[in-house]
Structures are given as structure tokens and as C-alpha cells.
């Protein structure tokens, strides 16, 4: 690597600001496309370039080598500040961001949050005061002067947090400063246009004074730059003088050019006002934006939609996963019995679980769509009768509840993740169960009543952004074939007995798309929905009914909500230490028994006490006429987002920590097969791990907590009438329970965790 490569390669990516910039860019772009249709003259390509260019300038300032070298050279630091104070804010405001950003937001966010806030009188008042030219000018000048005083500047050089705060100050005050100069539409000027000339010149006066001082001062103003090693042969004083010159010349130009333009406009003869052509029927009032787009339908996407809908695609994906499962089983039985060295110790427990939960959050129940177990079952049905009905007494989820509880216990009691041999047996057992049950009984009895993995996905799919549902309900009203559930001669209908017109959530939906292929009207799609929208409404959905009346489903929710925390807690040091102490205190209790106690307490006793207490408090102080068990069944589902968030954070933690773990295992297998020379595999591969991961985990937990609160509030409003006070009394104990779970999650995430799937523990 030569010096130039090193300099140009010194980029950094900090998660939060980059993500924020990216989201702002996407929202603006989306909104710009919408508002351009209504006002093409006002929102032309130039505006788009300005706004995206402004975001890109911020990105360059904080992530490019400018940031890496700013602590060594003051002149580089000065360029970074100029970008943040002069270039980026002006470009952002030239993009006239108000309307595009508002229109680009998800509709519910614009309508329910941004709209009411932006129209609130106190915010309007605050905005009016804040954008007064005198306030804007003072804020900018004060920020520039204060941060260049040696004690403050030194503080930013020694603390990255203060450094980021300084940048935020610069950007915010600069946005304020440029506001009256650019006057982004639809804001109105407070001072006459000519007043912007002294406004800019006075700011330039301050800039000149500061930069002249830096340029001509013959001692180092900021001691840190004297202590850092010099790059090239530039002394600290020369560096400071160059920084001053940069601030002076380009900095002043950026004040003087707009001042000149305004003076030119002021002296030019006035142009006659020509109103912008506005298409008929449209209004530029923010309240009318955005005009409602059609909901996204994955199956209507060009090319991809047809591919997704095709049964061949599903079969190909299933067969690939089937072959992968076969490889895992083979390695589990015959490979080395050390988890990090074996496919069975890594792929099912780390990658499959991690990618599955990510897919659930980004798309939907992708795993069931690609399920290798049902692939073998479908082959078996060619030979097996599959003509019996699933016993009526077993038509519930109780078997699945039991299997889920056994799985949670066995996972920890027998360290399933650490035993390739046991993992291989579990996979074989799963294939056998799916093959036998669905070979004997009609429909997807295994998926609906037995499969614990499926239940986990149904639970998590409540928070997916896509749902298999009808496109136009009116079409279904006239349909007499009901092929989506009955099927026809060629294509089977829904094997889980979900009737599309009455389906209201992802519960029990395997995303197999049989209903899509069976519908003669092509009226079923994979359609975008608001995640967790059904929460708090206790909707009745086809094939399931009302969840609040399904004790078996509520049991699954309890196991999965509280199990999320118990499962994650079991891998942190203090809990592992406690379990060891517990075993020793009771005369060397066998570990599986200790773990059984642990799960009984955490998934049955504590939830029972917590939910019972909340139900009683709600009933007593909320004046609710429902029985305690009915109150619990109404509110319990609303705690599900907290469980889902914990599963997500937990599984993604393992995935990111051991992302590259299969690479050395593949090297080992290929070497064993003599397809690779006998080199020692690199057992310590790199990973996607990054220090800010904990931030992401907390953010997920925050999100789960907030969605839970929203669901609880909706339920309380539904049960307690329209009065906010009564609803609050009903909801408060449950919100307390959500807070307890949230706090438990925070505590777990802070603890040292086992690095499962790695050579280190």
C-alpha cells in the first residue's frame, strides 16, 4: 500500500449518521417523485440534485479521509467544517425539502405524526421565532466563535462525543443561518430581501476576523496540533496559517457570492410574476399530500413477481435447502464433534435462525416458503395415502406448545447448539415427523398443529411488512369457487384452511402461495401492510378465530414472549453462574433438572404472577367488568413485540458474531474430501461484528417496547371506552409489565455473552 492509497482509503462508516443520511435521501427521493407530478416547475431535477448533493456533502465531511486526517492537520479539519457550515446546509435548503420530505414519509407517519405536529400552534410559533433572521444570525456567529475558542476546540479534539456534538452544532446553526438567505418554499421572508446583503456581509466580517487571526498568529492556538506527529514537513504554525487562509478565502467567497447575487436581483428590473402551472384538481396544500399510492405487491413486480409466484421457484429453493440439510446431517453424524468445526454446530443454530428472523422483519415468513421438511413430505405424498382427518381432539396448538417448551429446555439442558450429533438427530426426527404425519393425514396438519418452528415463525410474522392477502375485496364477494381454500383439479388450495377474504394477519400462513396460484381471478398477492397493525384490535381471522379466545395460541405467545428472555438470559455469565450455584446448593442437582426449574420459573411461574397481578390491578382500578383471565387474554398479545424484538436481537447477535464461521468448516470438509490441499483452515475468521452492535440491539428493544405500548394503549381504549383516563388506568399495569420486560432485556444485553459458533466462548 502506498501513501496515496492509504490516504484515499481512510474512510469510516458510522452506523447512525450514515443510516440517517441514507433514510433522508430515500424519503426525499420518494417525495420528490410525488410532488414533481403536481408541481414540475417547482421541483425540477436541480432541486433533487441540490438536496441529495447536500446529504452527500455531509457524508463526505464525516466519513471521508477528511475526518481521519482532521485530528492531524488543522487545514483538513477546516475543510471539513466549511463543508458542514457553508456547502451542505445551503444545498439542503436549495432542495426545498419541506414538501418532498413530508410526501416521502410513510403515509401513516405523515398523517398521524408529522401532520398534527407541523400544524400545532406552539410548534409554528417556535419555528417562527427560531427562523427569525436575527436569531439565525446570532446562533451561527455564536457557534462559530465559541467552538473556535481554544478550550472548546481542544475538547473536541480529545473527545469524539464532543466532536460529533460540535459538528451537529455547526450543521444546525448553519441550516438556520442559510434559511432566511435561501428562504426555502413554502416559508415566507421576515425581512426585506435587501436586508440579506448586510446579513451576509456582517457574517463575513466575523469570518474574516477569525480567519485573519488564524492566518497571522505566529503561535500554535490549539496545543494538540503541536503534539501530534507532523505529516510531511508542514509545521503546526504553517498548518494553522493555511487553515486560516482556507477559512478566509473560500469561506468569504461563500458569503460574498450570495450577497452579490441578491444585490444583482435587487438592482435588476422586477420580473412579472407568472404563477406556476398546477395540474387541475391538485392542491399544493401539505394536507393534501401525499396522494395515496397503491400498496406494494411483491407478485406484481416485473419479472420477480412471476418468479416468486411460480411453484418451480419454491421447489428449487426447497431442494437446495433439502440438500443443505442433508449435508448438515451427514457432517453432524460423521464430522468432528466440536460445534464450531461442524456444519451442524453452525448453520442451523447461527445462520439459519439469524437469516430467518431478518427475513421475517424485512419480508415475511420466508422460511416456511422454503421449508425443506415439507419438500420431502410433498414427495412422500405421491406414495402415501394422506387421506385421514387430523383427530378433532388434537386440533389445537397444544402439541406445539409442549414441543416449544421442550425445545427451549433441551436447547440449554443438553447444549444442543454444542452437539452436532444431537442436532443431526433433531433434523432427521423433524423430517420423519413431517413425512409420517402429513403422509397419513390430510392438509398441512404438521405445519398447523405440530411444528414448533412454524409456530415461532407465525408469531414473528405478526411484525412482517408483507402479508398474503386479497388485492380487491369486491372481487371475492362475487367469487363462488372459493378456490383459494378449496383448490381446483390442478392446484390445491390453502392446506392450513385460511380463507383469503377473511384472513387478517400472518398467523398460520406459511407463504406457500398455493392460494395465489389457485385463485382464478388472480386476486391474491403478497401485499405490503403496516407491521403489527393488527395489534390491539383482537381481530378475528380465518382458520384461527379471535386470538383472545384461543387458550392454546395464548400459551404459545406466553412461551415465546417470556422464552425469548429466558433463552437469551441463559447464555449470559451471571445467569450461568446462578444456575451453577443453584445446582450446587441442592446437592449437585443434574444440570437438566436445574435448567427445567429455571424455565418453569421464568416461562410459567413469573409470567403467571406478573400477568395475574396486572389483570387484577386492571380489573380493580380500571373498573373493568371482564374476568381477570379475559383481561389477560386481551392484553397478553400486545406484549409480543417485546418478545419478537428480543428474539431478533439475540439471533442477529449470533449471526453477526459468527458470520464467517462456515468458511473454515467448508475448507475442512473440502480438505477431508481431498478437493483442497491439506492446509490448516483459518479457524478464527473475521466477522460482521462491529462495536456499535449493542446500539442496534437497544434500538430493536426500544422499538419492541414502543410497539407494545401502542398495542396496550389500543386495547385499553377498546376495552375502557373513549375516555383517556379510564383507558390509562386499564393500561398502566400492563405498561409496567412491558417496562419490566424491557428492563430485563436491557440487563441481558449488557452482560458478557457466550460467543456460540466460534472457537472462543
Amino acid at each position: 500500500m502506498d501513501v496515496n492509497d492509504a490516504i484515499y482509503g481512510s474512510w469510516s462508516f458510522r452506523l447512525e449518521p450514515v443510516l440517517l443520511l441514507f433514510l433522508a435521501g430515500v424519503v426525499y427521493l420518494r417525495g420528490w417523485f410525488r410532488v414533481r407530478r403536481l408541481a414540475p416547475g417547482r421541483f425540477d431535477g436541480w432541486r433533487l440534485c441540490c438536496f441529495e448533493g447536500g446529504l452527500f456533502t455531509v457524508f463526505i465531511a464525516i466519513c471521508s479521509p477528511l475526518d481521519a486526517f482532521g485530528s492531524l492537520l488543522l487545514q483538513v479539519h477546516m475543510v471539513q467544517h466549511l463543508l458542514l457550515m457553508m456547502v451542505a446546509p445551503a444545498l439542503l435548503l436549495l432542495g426545498q425539502p419541506y414538501l418532498p420530505l413530508l410526501s416521502g414519509m410513510p403515509r401513516w407517519l405523515a398523517r398521524d405524526v408529522a401532520g398534527p405536529l407541523l400544524t400545532s400552534p406552539w410548534l409554528k410559533q417556535a419555528g417562527r421565532r427560531l427562523t427569525h433572521p436575527a436569531v439565525c444570525w446570532l446562533a451561527y456567529v455564536a457557534a462559530t466563535l465559541l467552538w473556535h475558542l481554544p478550550p472548546f476546540y481542544e475538547l473536541t479534539l480529545h473527545s469524539s462525543a464532543w466532536h460529533e456534538f460540535e459538528h451537529a452544532c455547526f450543521l444546525t446553526t448553519a441550516l438556520l443561518f442559510w434559511w432566511p438567505v435561501i428562504q426555502p418554499w413554502p416559508s415566507r421572508p421576515r425581512w426585506p430581501r435587501w436586508a440579506m446583503i448586510p446579513y451576509l456581509l456582517l457574517a463575513d466580517f466575523e469570518n474574516t476576523a477569525l480567519s485573519a487571526f488564524l492566518s497571522f498568529y505566529d503561535r500554535v492556538l490549539y496545543p494538540t496540533y503541536e503534539r501530534v506527529p507532523r505529516l510531511g514537513n508542514i509545521s503546526a504554525v504553517s498548518d494553522q496559517n493555511i487553515a486560516g487562509a482556507i477559512m478566509w478565502v473560500p469561506g468569504s467567497l461563500l458569503f460574498l457570492i450570495p450577497a452579490g447575487v441578491i444585490a444583482w436581483q435587487f438592482l435588476s428590473p422586477p420580473r412579472r410574476y407568472r404563477p406556476m402551472p398546477v395540474p387541475a384538481g391538485s392542491s399544493l396544500s401539505p394536507a393534501r399530500y401525499p396522494s395515496g399510492p397503491r400498496r406494494t405487491d411483491l407478485l406484481r413486480l416485473p419479472y420477480l413477481g412471476r418468479v416468486l409466484k411460480s411453484l418451480v421457484t419454491r421447489r428449487v429453493i426447497q431442494s437446495v435447502l433439502f440438500l443443505l440439510a442433508a449435508a448438515i446431517v451427514a457432517d453432524g453424524f460423521f464430522g468432528p464433534q466440536v460445534a464450531p468445526l461442524n456444519l451442524a454446530g453452525v448453520l442451523p443454530w447461527i445462520h439459519w435462525r439469524g437469516f430467518t428472523v431478518i427475513a421475517l422483519v424485512l419480508l415475511g415468513n420466508v422460511f416456511c416458503y422454503a421449508c425443506p421438511f415439507t419438500f420431502l413430505r410433498d414427495i412422500g405424498r405421491k406414495f402415501l395415502p394422506a387421506d385421514r382427518n387430523w383427530p378433532r381432539a388434537l386440533r389445537s396448538k397444544w402439541i406445539a406448545v409442549l414441543l416449544l417448551a421442550i425445545y427451549l429446555w433441551a436447547y440449554e439442558a443438553f447444549s444442543l447448539w454444542n452437539s452436532p450429533w444431537l442436532t443431526a438427530w433433531i433434523i432427521v426426527g423433524y423430517f420423519t415427523a413431517a413425512f409420517v404425519i402429513d403422509g397419513i393425514f390430510r392438509g398441512a396438519s404438521f405445519c398447523k398443529y405440530v411444528c414448533p418452528i412454524g409456530q415461532f415463525h407465525f408469531f414473528q410474522a405478526w411484525f412482517s411488512p408483507f402479508e398474503v392477502r386479497v388485492r380487491t375485496p369486491d372481487v371475492c364477494r362475487d367469487c363462488r369457487s372459493h378456490a383459494c381454500i378449496r383448490g381446483d383439479k390442478i392446484q390445491r388450495g390453502c392446506e392450513l384452511r385460511l380463507f383469503q377474504p377473511r384472513k387478517q394477519s400472518n398467523q398460520d400462513c406459511t407463504f406457500c402461495l398455493d392460494c395465489v396460484r389457485a385463485c382464478p381471478h388472480d386476486n391474491v398477492g403478497v401485499i405490503a401492510v403496516k407491521p403489527a397493525a393488527a395489534l390491539g384490535h383482537d381481530l378475528s381471522t380465518s382458520g384461527v378465530g379471535k386470538i383472545s379466545r384461543r387458550l392454546d395460541l395464548l400459551a404459545i405467545f406466553t412461551v415465546l414472549i417470556f422464552g425469548a428472555y429466558a433463552n437469551a438470559a441463559a447464555m449470559v455469565s451471571p445467569v450461568a453462574g446462578f444456575l451453577e450455584w443453584f445446582r450446587l446448593s441442592f446437592g449437585l442437582l443434574p444440570y437438566p433438572v436445574a435448567v427445567a426449574w429455571f424455565y418453569v420459573v421464568l416461562v410459567m411461574v413469573l409470567p403467571g404472577v406478573l400477568l395475574g397481578a396486572c389483570g387484577w390491578i386492571s380489573q380493580t382500578f380500571g373498573n373493568c367488568r371482564l374476568a381477570i383471565k379475559d383481561i389477560i387474554s386481551q392484553f397478553l398479545v400486545d406484549l409480543a413485540p417485546l418478545g419478537a424484538a428480543m428474539w431478533l436481537a439475540h439471533f442477529m447477535f449470533h449471526l453477526f458474531a459468527a458470520s464467517h464461521a462456515p468458511i473454515p468448516i467448508l475448507q475442512r470438509i473440502l480438505t477431508d474430501l481431498h478437493w483442497l490441499p491439506a492446509n490448516l483452515p483459518a479457524w478464527h475468521p473475521r466477522s460482521w461484528a462491529f462495536p456499535e452492535w449493542l446500539d442496534v440491539e437497544f434500538f430493536l428493544l426500544d422499538l419492541g417496547f414502543l410497539v407494545s405500548l401502542l398495542g396496550l394503549w389500543r386495547t385499553a381504549r377498546r376495552l375502557g371506552g373513549t375516555g383517556s383516563g379510564a383507558a390509562l388506568r386499564l393500561a398502566l399495569p400492563w405498561m409496567g409489565a412491558a417496562l419490566v420486560l424491557f428492563a430485563a432485556g436491557v440487563w441481558i444485553l449488557f452482560q458478557p455473552m457466550q460467543m456460540r459458533g466460534l472457537m472462543m466462548q
Binding site: 500500500m1 501513501v3 492509497d5 492509504a6 490516504i7 481512510s10 452506523l15 450514515v18 443510516l19 441514507f22 479521509p65 475526518d67 481521519a68 486526517f69 485530528s71 405524526v113 398534527p116 405536529l117 400544524t119 400545532s120 480529545h158 469524539s160 494538540t224 501530534v228 506527529p229 507532523r230 505529516l231 510531511g232 514537513n233 397503491r294 406494494t296 411483491l298 416485473p302 424485512l362 405490503a528 453477526f656 458474531a657 459468527a658 473475521r686 466477522s687 460482521w688 461484528a689 462491529f690 462495536p691 452492535w693 449493542l694 446500539d695 437497544f698 434500538f699 426500544d702 414502543l706 405500548l709 383517556s724 436491557v746 444485553l749 449488557f750 452482560q751 458478557p752 460467543m755 466460534l758
Partner: protein
């Protein structure tokens, strides 16, 4: 429809681009020495080291021209000056531990781990507070190894939650926003003068 998928794909792309490995990040100069024509400067981030994860960076320059030297092999050793500091184990963000160096006896610093690629860097995990001795060895092909030493005063670890307090602001802020929006909506629904009409 199309843009949603593009956004999703874009998000995934950015996500995977962002999820690089732990990177050291320059920071504050701890000590500098000139040996055999090489100027070696040691940086740490945070500037006042505390027990837990620490970004350690080294800049190797030609002492005469100040040109950065990038083809050296840099190794370092961290040892407590007082042996009693060893047993404690400081907290580290859980996932960060996967990529940090916990073997402080002898570890390599390289450009890949640095944000500023002129530096050689490593993310190390200092188990306990106290006075630590840092030795940095710089090896270049065809020349004698250069070794410099210095002391690091490692402070007690700050409570982990103090580094993450900003993340806990999100729920109260969102709740505040929700309450504000709800009260604004209910105020809008209640027509002015309704109470007087009822009266």
C-alpha cells in the same frame, strides 16, 4: 411498489457495507519516540484510557522527512506494571469482543483495523485499571527492529450504561411525541365552545 423493493435492497446493501469490523480510530497521542531514523507515535482512543475496549494506533514515520512508513510489521505488548491489576475483567460491548484482541502478550497492529490507513491499529481489551506498560516493536525488512516503550495510566471503567444513555432517550421521546399528537388530535375533535352549548 418498485421503489419499496429498491429501498429495501438499498437498506440491506448499506447494512452490509456498514457492518464492517471493529476499527481503531487514531485518538490522542500517548507518547512519541525517535529511534534509528524512525519516529514512532502511539495514539489511543479514548484519549484517557479506561478499562475495557481501547483503540490503539501507531504511526511510523521517517524521522527526517516525516513521510509515513507503511510496509513495517508492528507488534505490541501490554503488561500491567502492578501485577494485582490482572485478575479483574472489564466490561466490553458483547459483540465487540469477537473482534478485539484479548491476548495482550503480543498482538499485531495493521492498517486494516485503522480508520486512518497511515496508522497501524488494533482494538484491545484492557481487563483492569492501573498503570500499564506498552511496548511497541517495529520491524522493517533489512533493518534492525525498533522498540519503544511507554506507560499508560488506565482509569477505572465508566459504568456501561453511561455510554448508551442516548439510546434510552428514544422511548420517552417517542412517548412524548405520541402524547402530543394525541392531545392535538383530541383538541381538534372537540369543537370550540362545545361546553358552553351543552351548558
Amino acid at each position: 411498489m418498485k421503489s419499496r423493493i429498491q429501498r429495501l435492497a438499498g437498506f440491506c446493501l448499506v447494512w452490509f457495507v456498514l457492518t464492517g469490523t471493529c476499527r481503531a480510530d487514531g485518538g490522542t497521542v500517548q507518547f512519541t519516540a525517535i529511534r534509528q531514523g524512525l519516529q514512532v507515535s502511539v495514539f489511543t482512543d479514548p484519549g484517557i484510557p479506561s478499562a475495557g475496549p481501547l483503540d490503539l494506533s501507531v504511526l511510523v514515520q521517517d524521522a527526517a522527512t516525516h513521510a509515513a512508513i507503511l510496509d513495517a510489521e508492528v507488534r505490541a505488548t501490554l503488561a500491567p506494571e502492578t501485577p494485582k491489576t490482572l485478575p479483574a475483567s472489564a466490561w466490553a460491548p458483547p459483540l465487540c469482543a469477537a473482534n478485539s484482541t484479548s491476548n495482550l502478550q503480543s498482538f499485531q497492529l495493521d492498517h486494516r483495523a485503522a480508520q486512518n490507513r497511515l496508522y497501524y491499529a488494533a482494538l484491545v481489551q484492557i481487563p483492569a485499571a492501573g498503570r500499564w506498560r506498552l511496548e511497541v516493536d517495529v520491524l522493517r525488512r533489512g533493518t534492525q527492529a525498533v522498540s519503544i516503550e511507554g506507560a499508560l495510566q488506565v482509569a477505572d471503567q465508566v459504568a456501561p450504561w453511561t455510554s448508551y444513555w442516548h439510546l434510552f432517550l428514544f422511548p420517552p421521546l417517542a412517548i412524548g411525541l405520541f402524547v402530543a399528537v394525541q392531545s392535538r388530535r383530541s383538541a381538534r375533535r372537540t369543537p370550540q365552545g362545545a361546553s358552553s352549548e351543552i351548558a
